[in-house]
Symmetry: C2
């Protein structure tokens, strides 16, 4: 199984070797090519995913096909559509690869079993859910309140590593500003 | 203690009478006058709150004092700033009363004790956190993607009871649109 995931588990919390084997034994490895979808709007999210390497994005689409990006998920993070996964209902969003990506997947039934059998995994899962709550409140506040310049600077400060890996149109779709505005901000900063 | 809260607990999940007594025995009743604050930006959120009657709003403020409303919390819902409460760090947002409001408060140490002693309360708390995750993802998607008209119609459909209780400026601050735009949309709809 992936040494990256083992290292992650060990550094995140003090899992025993047997717990790590138990968790990894139920994981399915999958490779996504750039632009390939892990989840499509209208489908049920059947897996919890850990990103070993690469980069995914979670996004909704407008009737005109334009994207609104909710989240970027780089290596060593988890992703899913929580509501679709928990309730096994069609998802309102898409998850697709920005780069060639390697992920580990757990079927919901398998992961639910692990949560019961390994209390520490349940604690970790609860922490991840709490972080999701904190991050989305913070993100909503930024989207609602900040000026385009502030949004852009906030993004660079928070995600310095992501910046160079993303096309500008995706950064604009994440910030909720037009590509034109984003280009204008970047030009102004370069000329300062 | 509040019969409203007892009825809520009984209808939400099958709590026993002794569990209900245990939960309510640690609650503190507080009355907030309209415009009064429950939590101020920069303070630590020390309590979990259940709204018995009335209406609260959770909001951030800009440097120019303008409000950005994250959430409205009507009767029979819970509120707090999760990150500030969990980590006991200063909050990035405010919670204040839109109407005269009656709430029940639990100190974090008391509520943590209840969560350990009453497994069903832990299950209910987890469900509430999951709902918060679903709602904030949905809200973020709407804020990022929808037109002002769509945002307004979505609000009326989702919160038909709130609409008449809120000043227009608060609805605009929740939708992330200007008061002028909101007024224009309402006029256009009335004249159709």
């Amino acid at each position: 199984m992936s040494p990256v995931f083992e290292t992650y588990l060990k550094s995140y919390a003090g899992f025993s070797d047997s717990e790590i084997s138990q968790i990894t034994s139920l994981a399915i490895t999958q490779h996504l090519r750039r632009k390939e979808f892990l989840l499509r709007e209208g489908s049920v999210c059947r897996y919890k995913s850990f990103i070993v390497s690469g980069l995914l994005r979670v996004f909704g689409t407008d009737s005109d096909g334009s994207e609104h990006i909710l989240q970027f998920c780089p290596e060593h993070t988890w992703t899913l559509d929580a509501e679709s996964y928990d309730r096994q209902i069609p998802s309102a969003c898409n998850i697709a690869a920005v780069e060639d990506t390697e992920i580990l997947l757990w079927r919901k039934s398998d992961f639910d079993k692990l949560l019961v059998e390994i209390p520490l995994l349940k604690t970790v899962a609860e922490k991840l859910i709490s972080s999701a709550v904190y991050n989305s409140r913070q993100r909503l506040l930024t989207v609602l309140s900040a000026s385009p310049e502030h949004k852009y600077n906030d993004f660079i400060t928070k995600f310095p590593d992501l910046f160079g890996r993303l096309p500008l149109r995706m950064i604009a779709a994440y910030l909720g500003i037009s590509l034109k505005t984003l280009t204008r901000i970047r030009h102004a900063q370069l000329h300062r």
